[in-house]
């Protein structure tokens, strides 16, 4: 499954974007078809409304996404005040594409479009996805610790890029 990942600032400004391509040998390199490629940022942008809605909910359970997929899990305690509200899980969908999101403490939006794989109905692995986001969050904070980096600026560091890609390889199918 290819993924399109972006970090979006508070004015919908892109801070970082990347496309991940699965290089598993059995199904070859899978990329987004070109019509989706030129549409991806728009799909992602369209989901930001929902991200912002969930951002301010006590227990961010999305009603937009397909609830049966990727809900539950041991993390999702029913007690609203203790549930994780950084990782929002699947928040939206668009013709077979699933969209997951994560919000950092300063309101940076990590959003990812998960492409469809050849073998469909493959649910998103919520746990791995969450850890991927958390690790990127950590990398983001490390970037932020750089005194020369100002919040909301695009992250141009190739190391950051490399690390994020390594994480994608590790956690995302």
């Amino acid at each position: 499954m290819p993924q399109y990942f972006a970090i979006i600032g508070k004015t919908d400004n892109p801070v970082y974007e990347a496309q991940f391509i699965s290089t598993q040998k059995k199904d070859g390199t899978q990329e987004f078809p070109s019509d989706l490629k030129e549409l991806n940022p728009f799909i992602l942008h369209a989901s930001l409304d929902i991200v912002e809605d969930l951002q301010w909910q006590m227990s961010p359970i999305s009603s937009e996404g397909n609830v049966s997929v990727s809900r539950g899990g041991f993390l999702r305690s029913k007690n609203a005040s203790t549930a994780d509200n950084c990782y929002l899980g699947k928040i939206d969908h668009f013709y077979g594409l699933a969209i997951t999101a994560y919000i950092t403490y300063s309101g940076m939006k990590f959003v990812m479009i998960h492409g469809t794989s050849t073998n469909t109905n493959e649910a998103i692995d919520d746990n791995n996805c969450r850890i991927f986001y958390q690790e990127v969050h950590e990398l983001y904070i490390k970037t932020l610790m750089n005194p020369f980096y100002n919040a909301s600026e695009p992250i141009t560091s190739p190391i950051f890029d490399l690390r994020v890609r390594q994480l994608a390889k590790k956690y995302l199918k």
Partner: protein, 669 residues
Amino acid sequence: MINFSYEHYMNLLFHLECSDENIPSEIARRIVSHAIAPVITVTSTPELDKHIQDTYSIDSLYMLLRFFGGCVSDRDQASESKANAPHSSSSLTTTKTTRARSRSNSLFQRDSTQSQYIRFTRPLPDLVERHDKNDMLFDHHSLESYLRQYLELVEKFTFDSTSHQLLKKSLYHNFFSLAISSTTTLSPFESFNHPIMSLIALDITNSQSYEDAKGLLIKFKNLHNTIDKFPIYINTYDMLPVFLLCYNADSPEEVQQCEELSVKIKKQLFVESISLPLWKNSYQTEPFIKLHQPVMSSLDEMIYFLQSDEQNTLPIELTNTTYDMLEKLVYALLIPFMQRKIAFWEETVLQPKKSIFHGSKFLKKLMSRASTSSHQQQNILTKDHDGNEYFASSSPELLLRKLADWSIMLSDFKTGYATYEILSHDLELFPKYLASCLEWEAVSLLMGAQNIVTVKMMKNDISPLIDRALDAYDACAANTHLSNKKIGPTNESTSLEPVLSYETRCLILSSELFLSLSDTWTSTPYAINYLESILEESRLGPCSRIMIWERLSDCYDLRVDPRIKSKVEQVQKQDNLEEPADNEHRILNSQDDLNPSNIVSQGLTRKRKAAFFRLLAAKMWAEQGQWKQVKWCLDNITDIYSRVGLVNRDDLILTRLREEYNIAVSDSK
């Protein structure tokens, strides 16, 4: 100033000077009321038609009267002319009063005086002959070709400077009205298109007399015997014949004749008559006004008239006289007749049914459980000439259905709803009947209780009803499919289409009514859901599908939390005034970023989603070569995307579409 009426809005393309007005209030309700308005057939004599043709170059009386369909009190055709000041001001006041009345907050609005719509159609024999065997509401190909022609006209009539916001909405509502109505289909499963009044016209100037009247009436009464394959679910007894006596107002003898004839007809034939001074010398000296096409018409007629350049005109005075005549016809004859019939059916069909249960819910439950087996014997279908089985016109089921249909035609949604509810229990074994019944049960609820619909009602009552209706339509499709398989390998797609067209209507109708509710935050997800089902299931043509896509964008645009509605509008106004800041500047200067004016509304709108669907529509319009539409969509989303660095790159679709549009425009020049 001309009055911006409902019909102006629906025909906005021909009234572009009004394109900065607002959408008329309760537009969805108005369209639905209009789409199910009582149908009046117009029967004329060849002499009369010839006479009309000679004076006004309009083919027939029907062709003349069809311009006057619509909201009777709006006097829309008359307000066409700006010169006609006194009349248009009077029509302004009438619309105002009716609107004020219809705004009443009662639980179910029962107000038969509120604006009444009517539709005109051809004589019954024509309808029966043209009647399609497969009960189709509309076929997707005609709808698509109509839309394409309409878009061509849009292309022709508009300029780059034309403001298009309202026009686009009007375009959709025009499309919507055609998708939910048709004046020619005589469905066995619902009675909205079954004529209620038969207008039989006589030409007094051509000295047509009592004998002609008698002959025409007998012919009408005997239609079911004389016409081959007369549908068993139509009944001329439920149609009110009325004579229309057309005369020359300048001749005192003719006026005299009219009066005498009308007395005689009433005495001997027990039929009312109404007179219309179709001719008068002073008419010719008066300004003529251009007539516009009526809002509701059959798809075939719409297509025909879009293609023809014919422009019909009538003298102003005649237009007003005709409206006077119609008002009399509707309020003195049509509505009382319908009320009488409704009362009669209530007494003879509905009450006996109710009294069995003595109003006790417990007993009712018990009975209905016990009697499910006996139901099969109670409901008897009759075979028609082609071997299809329908409820006959005299069957209690069809009478109940008529009772409900007519009730909502007269805006009595409460009776309508209650009757559909009772009826739906009887129809459980007949999916085709059940589907339509459930659909209109939901519609009457949405129409009648519009102001008090709550989240709970949507979730627990209306949405399940619509889902049941859709399931029932699905069941019909499955049945048709099965029976066709038994018969042999027929073309699957054609056999499924009729059901699909009704299912599409159900979806598009409910989505529009949900959108018209006041709490759009909770209602739009339903609307979106139904529209998406249309895209998934039905076989609409490409342009029709894009209309639905655009409507999806409208839905998202309307999705605003009611608590912040005023705030969002304010911010939008401010934004429009401000110059959009330079992109580069924004990205780099976003340290102290968050605009405090919108932190409250954050997440409580779906404007980005709306923009996205508009973009998709633009992409699809481009594929269809509809560059005007592409431009309008792009114009629409410029504001929201201009500030977003993410989406304005050269390799992305937005830039590509802009380039393609520029190329297409420069090519065409």
